[in-house]
Amino acid sequence: MLGSTLAEKIVANAAGQTRVAPGDIVTCGVDLAMMHDSGGPRRVKPMLERLGVGVWDPAKIVLVSDHYVPAVDGESAAILDLTRKWAADNAIANFHDMQGICHVVLPERGHLKPGMFCVGGDSHSPTGGAFGAYMFGIGATEMAGVLATGEIWLRTPRTHRIELGGRLGAGLCAKDVMLHLCRKIGMSTIRYDAVEYAGAAIAGLGMEERMVLSNMSAELGAQTGLIAPDATTASFLRNANPSAAAPDIARWQSDADATYAATWHVDCDALAPQIAAPHSPENSDAAELHRGTKIDQCYIGACTGAKLSDLHMAANILKGRKVASGTRLLVAPASQRMTAAAAADGTLAVLLEAGAILLPTGCGACAGYGAGVLAQGEVCLSSTARNFKGRMGHRESKVYLGSPYAVAAAAVAGHIVDPRDMLQ
């Protein structure tokens, strides 16, 4: 009998079976359900009331307010008020109010560990895969179903293996890998299969960088984006939750003889900094090809591109430099703890001295919800994951995507450059 992939092992465990094969339709028990203020209580509350049931297990629910924070008008204030009241009424102990973006807060607060089967009410939920958890996004109605029953159906996916060979050079990061993959594989090839990242380059990546790979698996069209746990994972989990039992690293690995739908190779040594042109992440190519494109707004934000390591990348470029006149640099860190850490280690001072505008932590302008949306005809270079038409504001605005290095370098130049020109 052939072996199983990591994805198949977690699905089989959640379904209470010894093994599953791709295509099997199974019902899985959910270990953790994560919701935010936009797709969470305001949507699921009336559905649960209609069903006349409460939540199946408050201890397995994590609620994060991140989309409409801080409230800026009557609608957003009402959404947050409803969120807070629902958390209290349903005894949700794990409610992280205005503490950061859900995908970042979840591991930061020690909620994830390898082998877990998790759902999140947000499409970037595959981020949890960086910790060896099978995590995927669902809509609010399906979330209401999970909250009512603790279960969800799944068609067991095939697994695509993505081998990252070599090593990322100076001025490159996981974001460049993912923009490159969006072009190389395309966004409609994976078709809701699972992805597993492996290869020599993974070992050299910290957890925040691994989270970018898993996070943007959503852009590849994958259901989840797993990375098998190793010593780096264990060390992160120990810091996040010192009282938790050590993860079973040996158990949550793909077997050597597992079957993959396909294996894709990326040579990290040969990769150049990437930029994705409007209006799709798959319109990516070397940053050099876009040199000179004028940028009105540079945005460092979101679950994809505003973690502490992303802020460090920006600071490397911005140290001792100034944001060009005629452009603006907005920075919305991914969590409160990361904002505090960046303040403590001097990173925030570097950003502010360069002229960056610091925004509250939250999803912000990434999806056009929060501060920093674009006007008609404006051009933005963003460290976020998506540049669909109209996503960050006016439908006739344009969004380019790049790494935090690329965004910071464009802020200094006033236009797109190869960020390696400005590394310090």
């Binding site: 339709i25 936009s38 797709g39 949507r43 559905m47 209609r50 069903l51 006349g52 049931v53 409409y68 609608e75 957003s76 959404i79 999140g120 009410g121 947000d122 499409s123 939920s125 996004g137 669902i138 809509g139 609010a140 109605t141 399906e142 209401a144 179903g145 009512a148 029953t149 159906w153 068609r155 966004m187 409609s188 078709r191 809701y192 069209g221 259901q223 799709s280 999806a367 056009g368 919800y369 949306v373 998506r386 669909f388 038409k389 109209g390 996503r391 960050m392 504001g393 439908r395």
Partner: protein, 163 residues
């Protein structure tokens, strides 16, 4: 189900279907702006029973179920596409909107009159007279669609369990 086809290309995303700027409002407001980035007249011209036809990867992007909900609110009877983003596919079924995978969407032009039988997996193009096939949905999803979506489906199951 029979109605008129509104035809779109590949990669219709959730920001087009439910623009972020209007997400804090109710479904009436979101639906008014549905697909305006690619067809500003869609929301005012689509009628109950009509069909939306897409290419590859229809509904890519966000988990926001206001994307299929806006289409349903406007009366769209089913979405027919060469392929769907997985999240949109699940959301559509959960909200009672049939997502039908059809390899022959190039045989449907804007304005064609279609008759669709989701359970049998057939599409009749009444304008051209051609019969097209779509992939059959698994039984558990057809049952959910027949009940009007996941919540009425669960409601029925919970009631049955009590008796």
């Amino acid at each position: 189900m029979s109605g008129k086809a509104f035809v779109f290309g590949d990669n219709i995303d959730t920001d087009m279907l439910a623009p972020g700027l209007y997400m804090k409002f109710g479904i009436e407001d979101i639906a008014r702006h549905c697909l305006e980035a690619v067809d500003p007249t869609f929301a005012t011209t689509v009628r109950a029973g009509d069909f939306v036809v897409g290419g590859d990867n229809f509904g890519m992007g966000s988990s926001r179920e206001q994307a299929p909900q806006a289409l349903r609110h406007l009366g769209v009877a089913a979405v027919i596409a060469r392929s769907f983003a997985g999240l949109f596919f699940r959301n559509a079924v959960n909200l009672g909107l049939a997502p039908l995978v059809c390899a022959d969407i190039d045989k449907i032009a804007a304005g064609d009159m279609l008759a669709v039988d989701a359970a049998r997996g057939t599409i009749e193009n009444r304008t051209t007279g051609k019969a097209l096939r779509c992939e059959a949905l698994p039984a558990h999803l057809l049952a959910m669609l027949n009940d009007g979506g996941l919540i009425p489906h669960l409601e029925k199951k919970l009631k049955a369990a009590k008796q």
